[in-house]
């Protein structure tokens, strides 16, 4: 695959080279399945007569040069991203670029590049190599514009690194347990926490990792092929893209958190507060379905760094892992890193019994 040019910061008006011809699973490309009457037409017909609408229009007209107000206004009329035409996507993109650039005081690009033909993204993590250093967690935050405040709910991280205790089985406990004397039903070593994850064990903070008595297991969105989160979304704003990742059109998210309940991997986070994103730390290279700044009340999660991977670049977490435990690539290319891992290593999917078919694999040497 030949990667498209990464979006340049100053070319805010030029259209990315390959925004069309995505793979077939994307209903956005099915021109004929868009509803005949769009939301916009409907509102134009009925809504314009109401008093509230006149007030709103008035406000817009008086401050029509204000990027933020104009963008907010436009955003309320835009369709679900999947149902937008190419032209509408470009309009939405330009609107957001204007608003974000004004808001963060630097040129911000919003990419709308679609799925690249012949690419099905996959991820593999070497669970034996991970040392639990959490660099991936913080790389993801640096890349993906998560909220990073200090008050409750203001700090959002998409990767969780679970600490698993190695545990120890003891000879002294062998003949103990309960009920004692009547034939033991629960053995004395039952509560040995070998490989067990207890609540709070991702908050570990020793002087140095890896610790002698622990192993580590990072989890984030598994980009399921059969994603339960997609099935439950009442407004269908979260969906599977043609090249694999499950994405969210933040503008249509109503914050109902159904997906958070449905996801078996604790992958989704909600912005309960207005996100705290300092201007200097904001990453100005964004994707519409990826790391563009989110608003209060919407759900977000890992999207395999669409703003990077759609242009051929590794995800941010892959690039910083000091032990090289993280592997990313095209599952359709037999020479890619993930394909090689699947071919050669011992591999498992987390909670495979749930039939979610993750495209995120764990392996070990």
């Amino acid at each position: 695959m030949t990667p498209a040019q990464p979006p340049s910061l100053d070319s805010s008006q030029t259209q990315p080279s390959c925004s069309a011809t995505p793979a077939s699973a994307n209903p956005a490309q099915c021109g004929s399945c868009a509803p005949k009457t769009s939301r916009r037409d409907f509102l134009k017909a009925g809504g314009m007569l109401s008093l509230s609408s006149l007030m709103g229009t008035g406000a817009l007209m008086t401050h029509s040069d204000d990027a933020h107000a104009a963008a907010e206004w436009g955003e309320h009329f835009q369709k679900n991203y999947r149902l937008m035409t190419e032209q509408e996507k470009i309009e939405a993109r330009d609107r957001l670029q204007r608003r974000y650039s004004a808001e963060y005081g630097k040129p911000v690009s919003v990419d709308i590049t679609g799925a690249q033909p012949g690419v099905l993204m996959g991820y593999a993590l070497n669970i034996r190599k991970c040392i639990g250093c959490r660099r991936c967690v913080h790389a993801c935050v640096a890349e993906n514009n998560q909220s990073r405040g200090t008050r409750p709910g203001e700090k959002i991280e998409w990767i969780q690194v679970l600490r698993m205790e190695r545990g120890k089985f003891e000879a002294e406990k062998m003949d103990h347990g309960y009920p004692e004397g009547l034939g033991i039903q629960v053995g004395g070593n039952a509560y040995t926490p070998a490989g067990q994850v207890l609540e709070g064990q991702f908050h570990y903070n020793p002087e140095a990792v890896p610790e002698k008595d622990a192993t580590y297991m990072p989890i984030a969105c598994m980009q399921c092929e059969k994603p339960p989160c997609v099935k439950v979304c009442p407004v269908r704003t979260t969906y599977r893209e043609g090249d694999g990742p499950v994405v969210i059109d933040y503008n249509w998210c109503i914050g109902c958190r159904m997906c958070m309940g449905a996801c078996p991997y604790w992958a989704r986070r909600i912005n309960v507060t207005t996100p705290v994103l300092p201007k200097a730390e904001m990453n100005p290279v964004t994707h519409y379905l990826g790391n563009r700044p989110r608003m209060r009340g919407v759900v977000e999660k890992c999207h395999w760094c669409l703003q990077r991977t759609r242009h051929g670049r590794y995800p941010a977490c892959v690039e910083v892992c000091p032990v090289g435990a993280r592997k990313f690539g095209n599952l359709l290319d037999p020479e890619s890193e993930v394909s090689k891992v699947l071919e050669r290593k011992n591999v498992f999917r987390l909670k495979a019994d749930l039939n979610t078919f993750p495209k995120f694999f764990y392996f070990y040497d």
Binding site: M55, G58, A59, H63, G200, I254, A280, P284, G324, E337
Partner: protein, 276 residues
């Protein structure tokens, strides 16, 4: 669905006037660029894989876009704006011939090894003090040389090979600024994989196929990548890392996530165990 949309829009229309007013305020706050303030400070240098190996200095590649972001807690590189910063072509590597020219790059290790230029001349110029070729100890036990041990402290207690290898199994006998291959020919310090693969063939194969070690850049199998070489991650004089017996050295972790609201510390579950 339609209902929700209608409500949302109705609300938005009512709020339109308010929105516009707010937006004006926030737009005016933007003026002060924060990056200018950062530039005044000393250059920020962060380490990449482990401390003591490759490092990278932070600078701006485009307005508002740094080449690297460093962790304020540990000083580790946390994000790459430019993955090919300071790299050179990898050089010939058996098994990677298929890669397009210039698509495999590495960061030269020799620049980082401060005493390397001296090694080839000052002490080991290929001519032994009393004999030529130099007289080597017959038992191949490393000999304690105070100057060497003070220059490279790890040598005092070599943690590699469990006593079955010694200095000149890896270092060239006469060209001390080079490593050595099976034929006695010199290998550059920038290509340690050619040396390490002598014994660790399985690791070399996995590394060559991209499933051991790390690459950054483009993920496509024929894409341009910066390859991290063996010694950027492993300290060859200390791979056993004492008792822990792991190839990778211990590091300070990045800070933990926010605790759930109301939980005082991370040991909550351990202190309040679930009853059976």
């Amino acid at each position: 669905m339609k209902k929700i949309a209608i409500f949302t829009v109705a609300l938005a229309l009512c709020g339109g006037a308010l929105y516009a007013a707010f937006a004006l305020n926030s737009a005016q706050e933007e003026a002060a660029p924060t990056l200018a303030a950062q530039e005044a400070k000393d250059p920020l240098v962060c380490f990449e894989s482990r401390k003591g190996a490759s490092e990278v200095e932070q600078r701006e590649i485009k307005p508002g876009l740094p080449n690297v972001k460093c962790s304020p807690t540990t000083g580790a590189a946390l994000w790459y704006g430019d993955p090919f910063d300071g790299t050179v072509p990898m050089g010939k590597m058996p098994g990677l011939e298929k890669l397009p020219e210039g698509h495999a790059v590495v960061k030269p290790r020799s620049e980082k090894l401060a005493i390397l230029p001296m090694c080839g001349t000052a002490c080991h110029n290929g001519v032994g003090p009393s004999a030529n070729p130099p007289a080597l100890p017959k038992d191949k036990r490393p000999t304690a040389i105070p100057v060497m041990e003070s220059l490279v402290p790890d040598l005092k207690d070599l943690q590699h090979g469990r006593g079955r290898i010694w200095c000149l199994d890896c270092h060239h006998t006469t060209k001390r600024d080079k490593l050595v291959d099976h034929f006695g020919d010199p290998i550059s310090f920038d290509q340690p994989q050619l040396l390490c693969g002598k014994c660790h063939g399985d690791k070399l194969r996995d590394w060559r196929d991209g499933i051991h070690g790390k690459r950054i850049g483009e993920f496509a199998s024929d894409g341009k990548k910066r390859w991290f070489t063996c010694t950027e991650c492993h300290n060859p004089h200390n791979v056993q890392d004492g008792e822990r017996n792991r190839g990778f050295i211990q590091l300070q972790p990045e800070p933990p996530p926010q605790l759930p609201n109301g939980m005082k510390d991370a040991r909550h579950e351990l202190v309040h165990p679930v009853a059976h």
